[in-house]
């Protein structure tokens, strides 16, 4: 009998989450019913949106239920199938959650998707060729819609989403400017990912210094901003936005822990005729195939670069997730489950 280790949400955080918010449970994998597929997870994806799901309050999605397996994207291999669309040995992406195995209804729309791992590594389907990559693609092409010659800024630039935003912007003839925490991340963003510049926000703890750094990195002003963090970085970027600039709101980690963080000067929306738009990638399903085509080709040909931080074993998931929220990861944060 195969045993399955699972992390369930034990309690909701008050302020910063702690490891005690989760509980590790173990139970046998049940036998398959007709139409079901058993997947062994190779990788679990850890993503900032999970922090929002831990809260009870109003958000764009249902809260993660207590005592249920924590939500999460997974990639793995079909071990056993009682659905005609899948066979043992298939590599599949799904929302399997924080657990080693998942029993999935093979016929449910969008639950399980076969992927080709001959030219794209399995783990990339959780990153550049998965939800984070499509998030970058949708925010950049649909909301920022940059023209060649414009300047695009992205925060959390060394992360799974931000790194793709800048590389796609470069491919469209833009100046790409990253914002990241620490010199190592900035070096990576410029030297490996090919951004034109990267600002280490930790080296600019005050507004005046951060504003000056942005002015130096984006001397023609900013036309598009891909917002991953909120707070003082958003305030600084808004001051440098050109007329008719576009800001795609993808994540606001800075505000996840309860206290809303204000926007200092919303009158700039009028003064600079800005467009600010929030989006959730799962609400743009018709765009996924086109996005995945470009992203998959980019990874297969090694034009699109990325890094991964891989934690070992299901047991490590909570600590790895808390590290992600603090920016301790470098590139896409994964947990290897095999």
């Amino acid at each position: 009998m195969t045993m399955n280790k699972q992390w369930v949400l034990a309690s909701r955080p008050t302020g910063e989450p702690t490891p005690e918010n989760w509980r590790l449970v173990e139970s046998p994998v049940p036998p398959l019913a007709d139409g079901q597929v058993l997947v062994r997870h190779h990788f679990l994806s850890l993503d900032p949106y999970m922090r929002g799901r831990m809260n009870e309050g109003r958000s764009y999605a249902q809260p993660q239920p207590l005592d249920a397996v924590m939500i999460g994207g997974t990639v793995g291999e079909v071990i056993e199938s009682r659905h005609e669309k899948f066979a043992a040995g298939d590599h599949v992406v799904g929302m399997g959650g924080w657990q080693q195995y998942a029993v999935v209804d093979g016929g449910a729309a969008g639950m399980l998707r076969k992927v080709d791992t001959t030219r794209v590594p399995m783990s990339a389907y959780l990153g550049t060729v998965g939800m984070p990559g499509v998030t970058a693609w949708v925010g950049l092409t649909e909301i920022i819609a940059p023209k060649a010659g414009e300047t695009v800024v992205v925060s959390a630039a060394s992360g799974a989403v931000g790194g793709v935003v800048g590389q796609l912007a470069k491919a469209r003839g833009c100046r790409a400017v990253g914002i990241a925490g620490g010199r190592d991340k900035c070096t990576y963003v410029v030297d490996e990912l090919g951004f034109d510049a990267c600002i280490d926000y930790k080296a600019h703890p005050d507004a005046k210094s951060l504003n000056a750094a942005l002015k130096a990195a984006a001397p023609q002003g900013i036309d598009g901003y891909f917002e991953n963090v909120g707070g003082r970085i958003l305030d600084a970027v808004m001051l440098r936005m050109n007329a008719f600039g576009r800001i795609a709101f993808c994540g606001m980690i800075a505000g996840y822990n309860g206290e809303p963080i204000p926007m200092a000067n919303p009158s700039l929306i009028l003064v600079s005729r800005l467009k600010l738009q929030g989006f959730i990638v799962s609400e743009h399903m018709p765009l996924w195939p086109k996005a995945l085509d470009e992203l998959g080709a980019g990874v297969a040909t090694r034009r699109l670069k990325y890094r991964e931080t891989v934690a070992a074993g299901i047991e490590s998931a909570p600590e790895a997730f808390l590290g992600l929220l603090k920016g301790r990861n470098f590139g896409k944060q994964l947990v290897k489950l095999t």
Copy 2:
């Protein structure tokens, strides 16, 4: 010799403007050169955007120069013309400024426009069938783009822009909710302009009370918001916005006097997938003819209603303008110059 009284900007305000920021001067109307037109102004329009022009700082427009005639929309009658397109007796709209007469280059694009006053009163070309009306039309149709059955909220609802926003929204099958200062204004917004509801923000000085009033007035949530004021009203409306709501930023009087007023909870942009967009009506010139068609027809047939507050004489312009900034006007603020 005809004398012309003019208000020039004497100094820039520090904080709230005062009458001393302007200086009244008088000088003879110069003789016309070839191609010029002499207009006697019947009405001067006073509008919130003028407050922004008094500042030196970065804005969407050049600051009003010191010691020059204060900018302003005007409607009047051609007294003498040395341009073939205009004849004495023509009624014309222009940007004649805070003065009794203007000498205008008849050939300059967009400087002077003949208007038909047989079915539309002359003053309406400064209000519902002029810049404020087109502002309402552009923000509503281009940014909010409401569908029948949706709820549209507008602040400064009894004003020249806000009153049109709500009436146009009603004509498109929406629920129209106004926000205005005082019971009289709210009664007017509902009983005369035909809004479904109006909230007197002065009766709701705290956030909790204002939120409850919004919930009662917009029980299905808010799909579109036409933003004229900023500050705590914006914060309250954002909390009630439905997913995929649109906010058109037209004016933010609350922040004109120097200190930027923060937006309390920008993470709602992401949570509710909102679109916030600032716009300036003069940057949407291709839309004016279509807008003016609907607005002119609405006034001519008395379907579109409005009120005016008319100050008497050029001398009254500064006090009337300061009153406008404090919300003392009722509907469109004009100065009658004849």
